[in-house]
């Protein structure tokens, strides 16, 4: 190591005087960092607890919240279990959730292993395609499946003609579980695939040196290492299928199969005189179950992080060669993508351009734009499209900022309640959209000045924002974990306070994660609708609620048209955002 010095260095003056340490103003002994931390904590607590408290309160009250002079009683719970048919609902929900979870894993785990760890024809392309059903809302996926596989679906009719009978019944718990599993598989896939990518390659090399063949390595080394992401994603999928509304609503309503979410929907929205006590009690029970599962999940994840080890120097091992079997594997993945997501969506898009969509008549003869005409002639429908875009755009910015602050406080601050901030940000994941809707509806109804918000887009943004907060938090948190803590420490010792550290150092480093969260929240909020069922007025519907209205009216063509528009908006947004991201990461 040679040290080159310029001339001036040889007669360097005596050691410089020490610069004074920076001083930061305090309010009641708390620096601005502490104030921000408390602010975030209190804001999150209000945000998350607001919809829960009135539900809890209502569940023990003998009359609606807005009627004065109520008594506290457990009567709602006894009525719920004795005469509301709730037992059957619980059973249905359990079957549906367990079925969905199992099917999701059956789809996701083998595919993750095949795509990430084996030589697969077109492996990269298949891996990317595996993830795209995530961008489609399950409501649209459900419409697509009905269009193809429903009792009068395009494919069902052809199969019935060919076989003389239809070997499946989409309008059943099984049909719901399959559809839901196709929609949720990308989530489990991403968890498993990431774990596989991060796992230490030398473990496999060690097995290979010991003389193990590809299949033995797969089953003795690779798959057992997947246990943590499997446990984690199965709990996640389980809790998501507990709260999902779309598929059970579309498939279950005609045949009167009720699960948790549809029970709330019919009792709260469709009945002429809703029994608010029952609604509150049922919501409370459901919340208890879903929050319970998320609590388990948090515990599992805490332990799981010990297993998933990221090693900087991990070398990519050779991919395992499965021989001829790889073609079978590739075909299986193609079948999932094509029949699970691609065909239903294409079918729906195609449906939007036809009068009637059935193999019995050549659909090309009935090509039309009238489905779109109908959407665009009614101002309310057009409004719902702009509403969706406004809600998603404004919400994405607000939620991402809140999530960023929450991540900073939870993961990068000495804040006393840092853990609580993290839990608060993640709890909404366990709050079914419809319950969030009911909760905020009551909040706005009871809160002084709430009338100004009730029924406006602000209410919708608040409710959707709460629902997508965990998504944003979850997408920023890993990014901050990759930024070494010493970078903060170095800034602190250099004289930056907690807040200055964020503004001077972390802000730039977190920009990609923040943009990533923006995109993700936008997509999530575009898909969201269940919380709006209670909160929207006539002028503040979103695409999802309008689609449901049109579906109930039997305007399936217009539903398909709206679905196509929503997919197009999402696709254009994601494409533009990705281009923007690419342009920036090159710089």
């Amino acid at each position: 190591m040679t040290i080159t010095r310029t001339e001036s260095a040889t007669q360097r003056p005596a050691v410089r005087s020490t610069l004074p340490a920076p001083k930061y103003p305090r309010v009641f002994g708390a620096g601005r960092g502490r104030i921000v931390q408390y602010g975030v904590f209190i804001l999150l607590a209000l945000f998350v607890l607001a919809p829960i408290v009135p539900i809890l309160y209502q569940s023990f009250r003998d009359r609606p919240l807005y009627e004065a002079g109520g008594l506290l009683t457990p009567g709602n719970y006894t009525r719920l279990f004795t005469d509301a048919g709730f037992g059957q609902v619980i059973l249905n929900t359990a079957i549906f959730a367990v079925g969905t979870t199992v099917l999701t894993l059956v789809i996701a785990i083998p595919m993750a292993v095949l795509v990430v760890r084996t030589k697969l024809p077109f492996g990269r392309l298949l891996g990317l395609s595996m993830q795209w059903p995530f961008f489609i809302s399950t409501l649209i996926l459900g419409f697509g499946w009905i269009t193809l596989y429903g009792p009068a679906g395009f494919i069902s009719v052809q199969v019935r003609q060919f076989l003389g009978f239809l070997p499946w019944n989409l309008y059943s718990l099984g049909g719901m579980a399959v559809t839901e599993a196709v929609g949720l598989a990308p989530i489990a896939y991403v968890f498993c695939a990431n774990a596989l990518r991060q796992s230490d390659a030398s473990l496999e090399s060690a097995a290979r040196v010991c003389g193990a063949g590809p299949l033995r390595i797969l089953f003795k080394v690779v798959v057992p290492m997947l246990r943590p992401p499997i446990v984690y994603s199965s709990i996640l999928v389980f809790s998501m299928s507990l709260e999902t509304l779309s598929v059970p609503l579309l498939y279950g309503t005609p045949v009167r199969i009720e699960v948790f979410s549809t029970f709330l929907y019919t009792n709260g929205l469709q009945s002429i005189q809703p029994d608010y006590g029952i609604l509150g009690a049922a919501s409370t029970l459901i919340l208890a179950v879903t929050i319970g599962t998320v609590a388990i999940q948090a515990k599992v994840l805490k332990n799981a992080q010990r297993f998933i080890s990221v090693r900087g120097k991990a070398t990519r091992p050779r991919l395992l060669d499965l021989g001829k079997f790889k073609w079978v594997a590739a075909a299986a993945i193609v079948i999932y993508i094509v029949f699970g997501a691609l065909l239903p969506i294409l079918g729906l898009v195609f449906r939007s351009f036809t009068m009637i969509f059935t193999p019995l008549a050549n659909p090309f003869n009935t090509l039309t734009l009238s489905n779109y005409d109908r959407v665009f002639t009614f101002p309310v429908y057009v409004q719902s499209i702009t509403n969706s875009v406004v809600v998603a755009a404004v919400g994405a910015v607000l939620v991402s900022i809140l999530a960023l602050l929450a991540v900073l406080v939870a993961r990068r601050s000495p804040f006393k309640f840092a853990r609580s901030v993290e839990y608060l940000a993640l709890i909404p994941q366990a709050m079914p959209g419809i319950i969030v809707g009911i909760g905020f509806f009551w909040v706005f109804a009871l809160m002084p000045g709430g009338g100004l918000v009730q029924g406006t887009l602000v209410a919708v943004i608040i409710a959707f924002g709460l629902r997508s907060l965990p998504t944003a938090f979850g997408s920023i948190a890993p990014a901050i974990m990759q930024i070494g803590r010493e970078l903060d420490d170095a800034a602190r010792t250099s004289g930056a306070d907690w807040f200055g550290t964020f503004f001077r150092i972390l802000r730039t480093l977190l920009k990609p994660a923040f943009v990533g969260a923006l995109i993700l929240v936008f997509v999530t909020m575009m898909k969201e609708y269940s919380a709006a069922l209670f909160l929207s007025s006539a002028n503040t519907g979103v695409i999802g609620t309008t689609m449901l209205d049109l579906w109930v009216q039997g305007n399936t063509g217009s539903v398909a048209a709206l679905a196509t528009i929503q997919i197009a908006i999402t696709a254009v947004f994601v494409a533009v955002a990705n281009m923007f991201m690419k342009g920036h990461s090159d710089a």
Partner: protein, 374 residues
């Protein structure tokens, strides 16, 4: 250049005590090293001075300014302590050039533009990297990154320099040279420096004084020579340099010389000691390999002469390392003579050995590796 006082420092994580009553004072301009195995609490101590960890109790004062005093509920945040710190991973901000990295602390202190430029030039000049100021950290070698980190810590002339294993990420050869360079720099600047390392060579060669820590406790504070020559415990002797340990029982002690019957051979050796022990007490005799002499001749003269056989001989450059069999123990000896074999005699004087109370071999695992069938 201020003094650093640390007194009564405790740190607990839940039920685990990481720091147990740490006390020391660092003099002005001193190079003070916290040495110990990983997990001993040395980094926690350093981070407590920096304010990156909050001690459970105790006080820290630098240059008369109290940083922490748990009794008075006083805690000065890191950013107001005006310390310079170099991290093990260097912690250079990856999105900023070398110059921008150095500007940050100056910008926070609202330094004028001219002074910024001159201070940055001076700091980079000190570490010999003025020509690389427009590079990004990832465009620099590990050694250069380490020097930029040092320049960033020095650019605002902090009161105390804290170094957390700054050399441990360099390769062996560069590490040695960096060590010498760092020593020259510190002498030149005369800045009070607290250095954390687990590398005893670094500690011995760099420090004015060393504090050796084990399991959250400070075991010994002293100059490098004191630490090496007069280790306070068997653990210190084992950690700093290498050492042979023999357990035994005290036969008698008088006039500063103890007679110890060794467990491995049943022979009695004489060891200089002023410990207050009774005959029959269990003791441990420690001898550094370079203090032992080996001789082939049958009539070797010395206070302690032990019959041994050569197990292994390895050439390590300037000298030979021997493994000798003494009872069930393997004894490590260093000798310039490369021709010894078979039966040899091991000779040492009472002053060459150290005596510790109790049968305290520092590491059961190390002792196991040094045991053969008798």
């Amino acid at each position: 250049m201020p003094e650093v006082h640390v007194s009564g420092l405790h740190k607990k994580f839940g039920d685990v005590t990481v720091l147990d009553n740490i006390n020391f004072t660092i003099k002005e301009g001193e190079f003070f090293t916290l040495l110990g195995p990983s997990g001993c609490g040395k980094s926690t101590t350093l981070n407590s001075i920096a304010g990156l960890e909050t001690p459970t109790s105790g006080s820290i004062t630098v240059g008369g300014v109290p940083f922490v005093d748990t009794e008075k509920k006083l805690y000065m945040p890191t950013e107001e302590r005006n310390l310079g710190m170099v991290f093990q991973s260097y912690a250079l901000w990856p999105h900023m050039t070398v110059e921008q990295n150095l500007v940050m602390p100056l910008a926070i202190r609202k330094v004028s533009k001219e002074e910024k430029a001159s201070r940055i030039h001076e700091a980079l000049d000190t570490v010999g990297l003025a020509h690389l100021k427009d590079r990004f950290p990832h465009q620099l070698s590990g050694g250069q990154q380490q020097r930029v980190a040092l320049a960033r810590a020095l650019v605002y002339s902090p009161s105390v320099l804290l170094l957390d294993e700054p050399l441990s990420n360099l390769d062996a050869k560069l590490r040695e040279q960096s060590r010498a360079w760092l020593k020259r720099l510190q002498v030149e600047l005369g800045i009070t420096t607290v250095y954390v390392t687990h590398d005893q060579d670094e500690a011995l060669s760099l420090s004015d004084r060393i504090a050796v820590m084990f399991e959250g406790k400070m075991t010994q504070i002293g100059t490098p020579a004191e630490i090496y020559e007069k280790p306070a415990t068997a653990a210190v002797a084992a950690f700093v340099g290498s050492c042979n340990f023999f357990t035994g029982a005290l036969e008698q002690i008088s006039g500063g010389t103890a007679h110890v019957r060794l467990d491995n051979t049943g022979l009695v050796v004489k060891v200089a000691s002023t410990l207050d022990l009774k005959p029959g007490d269990a003791v441990t005799v420690a001898v550094r390999p370079e203090r032992l002499r080996i001789t082939p001749s049958a009539n070797a003269a010395g206070a302690n002469v032990l019959e041994t056989t050569v197990l292994t001989r390895s050439y390590v450059g300037s000298r030979y390392e021997y493994g000798l069999k003494l009872g069930s123990n393997v004894v490590q000896v260093v000798s310039p003579d490369g021709n010894l074999d078979g039966g040899v005699r091991l000779v040492f004087e009472p002053e060459d050995a150290l005596l510790y109370a109790g049968a305290s071999v520092p590491s059961a695992e190390a002792q196991e590796l040094m045991t053969v069938a008798a």
